[in-house]
Symmetry: C2
Subunit: 138 residues, 2 copies
DNA sequence: GAAAACGTGAGAATCTTTCGCATTGTTTTG
DNA sequence: CAAAACAATGCGAAAGATTCTCACGTTTTC
């Protein structure tokens, strides 16, 4: 269960942390900004400050529990780290996120980095588009 | 010459605009943040406000002259739009940028978007790593 | 169960980016 | 080429996102 993940990260199990992790788990389809998480906490009548949300998210990130993404638009969004590296398809209208993994692309990336002499550390691939649901609303 | 590009964008040819475009042209190897551009202007004893730098960069972006990228880290960086869509290899140590185009990856992306029913609009692929020069400094 | 260490909320502070507005510069027109 | 017409600039203020500070509350340790 969630508490174990928090403990394993070397963090104490506190109400804000458990709540935030729970919110992230319930929102795998739509990655959340710190503000989004904060609003959900408020709507659940939780007394959590925005600063704490940022703190906890940053701690979770360091612990490898969540990933921070810098999509377009001012704020970062966070998603639960499912372990496997994956890329994103983001709907520019509704914000819906679809994750995918493509071995072929991963291989080409390693190849390209090697060609240029780079020692690869990480990568980020985001495809922006309009999802099926939003297309029908045009 | 540069002034033509500015005019074609429907903008008046002013000192700040010409200078900023010139700075971007000289820095194709390392994409610049608005702050970076501003500092270079100052070091050239140009009287340009930071607000103008942002304004001009945004205008250039709308005009398709430059592209704004949201790499990791708080600020956006800008690069001259060379017309062709390309992706990036960024050195996490020195900030050096290498651009590349890979048809195979582009094709896979279209394929993936199609599979998921998305109407693709844009995409962003960034590989983070350590460049050859920085590797030898370890 | 007291001390030490950690976690929290609230607001201040910081950083990046944008805005408002009086002033200045560029282009157009005659 | 001067004046009108309007766009562009610089400055400081403002906004939005994120982090920091600090006094207070909770957990852990022994």
């Amino acid at each position: 269960m969630e508490n174990q993940q928090i403990k394993r990260a070397g963090l104490k199990v506190t109400a804000p942390r458990v709540k935030i992790l729970g919110i992230l788990e319930k929102s795998r389809k739509r990655h959340l900004s710190a503000e989004d998480v904060y609003k959900q906490l408020l709507s659940q009548d939780e007394e959590v400050g925005l600063a704490t949300v940022y703190r906890v998210l940053t701690q979770f990130e360091s612990a490898g529990l969540v990933c921070r993404r810098n999509f377009e638009g001012g704020q970062s969004v966070f998603e639960l780290n499912s372990g496997d590296h994956h890329d994103h398809l983001v709907c520019v209208k509704c914000g819906k996120v679809v994750e995918f993994v493509d071995t072929l692309i991963e291989e080409r990336q390693s190849q390209i980095a090697a060609d240029k002499g780079f020692r690869i550390q990480d990568h980020s691939l985001v495809i922006y588009g309009v999802c099926p649901g939003c297309q029908s609303q045009d």
